[in-house]
């Protein structure tokens, strides 16, 4: 049997061993718009012969009318994957690319240069060992270059290669290169990179990519790819303190109880003592279980299942360590935050914080300062906007186990999640823990409506139902309340039944009494909304003036006037409480619709036709409209 395409002396086992033994380098490319990141990655893929025939054919077709190198290809087309990007000609989201040489495998995160997508750059950096910082030789060091370099240092990328691209467009001028490198080194000095190299390249033409270019005889460093193949980025995480965040409790039957997770750092062996961070309970490792058989020892990066020698309470989110080398366990810490959402961050807001497998409610208790990413200067601030970096203190609802990010990225890096939309709002790196007694700074923010509402996972508002007696206001309000409650929201209905019999039982039905009735209800609604509730007010409220009063009392609280427009004949036919009958008989005076007018709202936010659709349909429609 022949081995097609294989060289005669190929030994498949040897070859496969060579493949699996290759080391892996994860790097990212960053820089400003149009610096040529996508072109550079396309070039790397092309030069490592990873562009296949069918891709090449379609590429040549698409490269028509674009700037191309000698190969007739616009390399950026290879990596600009999304249609939106093709149309806009910019890279808007981080893309992962794979290539390998004889010496190494590479995973490349191609990250966006456009300012509004800086959050994606931080994403790419979080899993990278090294960064290529691209600079257009014609433009030099730009704001984006500084911003991205600062984010690299914040995320802890230790190795940087300054790639001065488009060197062909400055006539391979050494002076230009030297000036850019000097400027960048001066800026990057306080950022603490372990290694910083600089290479002059033309990604389009291929200069100094695979081999030294004849056009830059003055450059005596290595070409880019050989440099990436040889740089040592390894850090011996096995020698660090043992950290094992428990991900999943493995319990197939009553006889087996194991704790599954990935060793974040350090190593552990059968017989070793461990301590549970939350309870401080000790135990000893009895087995290290994998499907391939039990291990004697597990090291950083391995996904295993630990069995301990005694019955202890361990659940998801717990962190195991060695006694005497425990992580911090606290509910307060100082951190640096990168904000990644259009909605700004404010002290006092409640978010969900996830670090490792721990998820807890958390609040920014103090915004110490914002860091100007261009000058690295600190400035005072009251909020953090999209793409800004700030130093904050954070309080969690219960203590969590963590390490400073500089000591351990996997137990010191966290994300903040919005409690309403569940969007990822920001990412943070823990600097150090704060002791509870000394540093509680709750007085630095006001407990206000917004804070209270967010604790309930909602936005406070008043929904005011107006309409004739029997129009269906209360039925709709009740159904809406049920649905909101089922969704975990906190709502409350104010209606004639629970107000007239208590708070307003001293009021009759004269015009003055009705105005006072509405005023009191509106005030109560405002207080309840201020407490963070969704308040549903179901009152006939027949007069435009009263409804306007209610809206004025609500002030800045979101106020929705819902007119349940049901014809009088329908209401009278329903007559659930027999009131119309009694009003017609003259037993009740001033009854709305009979001998007292109903002024239809002039500009309600929403009209529901109670005579045409079922209350449940209307309640659902209202729910959708309110976008709760």
């Amino acid at each position: 049997m022949s081995l097609p395409m294989a060289t005669p002396d190929t030994d498949i086992d040897l070859w496969l061993k060579q493949q699996t033994d290759k080391s892996l380098l994860r790097f990212l490319t960053c820089g400003s718009v149009d610096d040529g990141k996508s072109t550079l990655i396309g070039r790397l893929l092309y030069d490592s012969q990873l562009i296949l025939d069918d891709q090449l054919a379609s590429l040549r077709k698409e490269s028509h009318n674009r700037i191309t190198g000698d190969e007739g290809i616009d390399f950026s087309l290879l990596v600009d994957g999304l249609t939106a990007e093709r149309e806009q000609g910019i890279t808007i989201d981080v893309a992962y690319r794979f290539f390998s040489t004889d010496k190494r495998k590479f995973i490349v995160a191609d990250t966006p240069g456009h300012e509004q997508y800086t959050r994606n750059m931080a994403t790419g950096a979080s899993n990278a060992d090294l960064a290529l910082v691209l600079i257009d030789a014609r433009k030099g060091v730009l704001t984006q270059t500084r911003r991205h370099s600062f984010i690299l240092s914040l995320i802890g990328v230790k190795h940087v290669v300054l790639v001065v691209n488009k060197i062909d467009l400055v006539d391979y001028d050494q002076a230009v290169f030297d000036r850019i490198v000097a400027e960048y080194r001066a800026f990057a000095e306080p950022l603490g990179f372990k290694t910083l190299a600089a290479v002059p390249v033309s990604a389009l033409r291929g200069d100094n990519i695979l081999a030294p270019s004849v056009h830059t005889p003055w450059y005596d460093g290595t070409a880019l790819v050989p440099y990436l193949e040889s740089i040592d980025v390894s850090e011996d995480r096995t020698a660090e303190k043992f950290r094992f965040p428990v991900q999943w409790v493995n319990r197939p039957d009553l006889d087996f109880r194991g704790f599954s997770g990935t060793v974040a750092s350090g190593s552990i062996a059968v017989g070793d003592d461990v301590l549970i961070a939350s309870s401080r309970q000790p135990a000893a490792v009895r087995r290290i279980v994998t499907m391939d058989g039990d291990l004697d020892r597990a090291v950083a990066g391995q996904a295993v299942t630990l069995v301990v020698d005694r019955e202890v309470d361990i659940s998801r989110g717990d962190v195991l360590s060695r006694p005497g080398e425990t992580p911090e366990f606290s509910n307060q810490f100082q951190a640096r935050l990168i904000w990644m959402n259009e909605e700004s961050a404010f002290p006092g807001r409640s978010y969900l914080l996830k670090v490792g497998s721990q998820l807890v409610p958390a609040t920014i208790t103090d915004l110490k300062f914002r860091t100007n990413v261009n000058t690295l200067e600190h400035t005072a601030a009251t909020k953090i906007d999209l793409n800004e970096v700030a130093t904050v203190t954070i309080a969690t609802d219960k203590p969590i186990a963590f390490d400073p990010y500089a000591a351990n990225a996997l137990t010191g890096g966290f994300i903040l999640v919005d409690r309403l939309s569940n969007a990822t709002l920001g990412a943070g790196t823990i600097e150090f823990g704060l002791r509870r007694a000394q540093n509680l700074t709750y007085q630095s923010f006001d407990v206000n409506r917004d804070v209270r509402a967010r604790m309930k996972g909602q936005a406070a508002r008043i929904v005011w139902f107006t309409g004739l007696s029997g129009s269906g206001k209360s039925s709709i309000a009740n159904l809406l309340e049920k649905r909101l409650t089922a969704e975990g929201r906190h709502a409350y209905i104010l209606d004639g039944d629970n107000v007239r019999h208590g708070l307003n039982k001293d009021l009759g039905f004269t015009e003055a009494a009705r105005v006072e009735n509405i005023r009191r209800v509106a005030e109560v609604a405002r207080l309840m909304a201020d407490a963070g509730l969704i308040v549903l007010v179901s009152f006939i409220s027949p007069f435009e003036k009263e409804r306007r009063l209610a809206r004025e009392i609500a002030g800045d609280i979101d106020f929705t006037e819902v007119y349940v427009d049901t014809p009088l004949a329908v209401c009278e036919a329903r007559d659930p409480k027999g009131l119309y009958k009694r009003a017609r008989a003259g037993e009740i005076k001033n009854f709305t619709g009979i001998d007292s007018p109903f002024e239809p709202p002039q500009a309600p936010e929403l009209v529901l036709h109670g005579g045409e659709q079922e209350p449940v349909t209307l309640a659902d429609a209202l729910h959708d409209w309110l976008k709760l």
Partner: protein, 302 residues
């Protein structure tokens, strides 16, 4: 490599196991897509490892278009029996009733009805909040940008411009009512990684991946295997026996075979290393138009 002690494949394996465990721990009703191909086979192997000695704590879902290679179905059932996982097979009943097939409707419409719509039906019926898939970032350009935990709205649609930032291995698994997550544990694997892993772990695959003499017809350069008597021949067309194998598996009338004599895993890997065409070329659905995969994903295709 930052971990120092593990090989490249070992760290990829550990990363995938961590992702699978995160799904089991964070979602109420996860499901794993099982397409019977090599990536699915790797995924199944990883899931068995992730939860050992427990059984896989979620069902496997196969969207059956009824046009899969017959051998795939037999292989699927033998795996379910051997490893004792819960298997759910779903076929779009509307498509079945209307006799939707790749010959009359064409690949695009057929795929929409029997795959995309069928998948939506199955996910809705199971009220699954997380669906695990075997897609890899090296497969296709729009996949290169997808998150490991990829958010879907209540209509199963992907919004590529509004993806959640995904840092370190801290995955945001939170959902609002009706929303769901697609999870891709082998995002960071390449095709070569998959093959070398299959080799080193001894993972079973359907024999369609290995070269054998099979009855095929040549449709403008694409070799289509005649797997059953539902095949529609063009006038004068006669199947020929050729030694072929498949690089990907799917619906037999839509999956091109390649001429190859690679009958063992080492031969396949060596051949693949020397090959000059990308894996998805054999799949007819991707070449419909530029950006077609991205469009399908926005509509809910996996």
């Amino acid at each position: 490599m930052t971990t120092g002690a593990l090989t490249h494949l070992q760290s990829l394996e550990a990363e995938s196991i961590e992702i699978l465990r995160e799904v089991a721990a964070s979602f109420e009703r996860p499901v794993m897509m099982y397409s019977i191909g090599k990536d699915s086979s790797v995924l199944l192997h990883l899931a068995r490892k992730a939860f050992f000695p427990s059984r896989i704590p979620f069902p496997l879902l196969h969207v059956n278009t009824t046009w899969k290679f017959r051998e795939m179905i037999a292989f699927r059932d033998s795996m379910a029996e051997k490893y004792g996982f819960d298997l759910i097979s779903h076929t779009n009943p509307d498509g079945l009733r209307d006799n939707i097939n790749p010959f009359d409707q064409g690949s695009s419409r057929f795929t929409d009805i029997m795959k995309t719509q069928a998948l939506r039906q199955a996910l809705n019926a199971g009220r699954y909040d997380a669906a695990i898939g075997g897609a890899r970032r090296d497969e296709e350009k729009s996949r290169a940008k997808e998150r490991v935990f990829s958010h879907r709205n209540a209509n199963h649609a992907w919004d590529p411009k509004n993806q959640r930032p995904e840092l370190w291995r801290v995955f945001n698994t939170r959902l609002n009512p009706g929303e769901s997550m697609r999870v891709f544990p082998i995002s960071n694997w390449t095709e070569l990684d998959v093959w070398t892993y299959i080799y080193s772990e001894g993972i079973e695959l359907p024999s369609l991946y290995y070269a054998k003499s099979r009855p095929v017809v040549d449709r403008s350069g694409t070799l289509i295997m005649v797997d059953d008597d539902r095949f529609r021949f063009e006038p004068g067309e006669v199947p020929r026996q050729e030694v072929v194998r498949f690089r990907t598996l799917g619906d037999y009338p839509l999956t091109g075979a390649i001429r190859s004599t690679a009958a063992t895993l080492p031969e396949i890997i060596m051949e693949m290393q020397a090959s000059r065409t990308s894996e998805r070329e054999g799949r007819l659905i991707d070449s419909d138009s530029v950006g077609s995969m991205e469009k399908k994903k926005q509509e809910g295709y996996f």
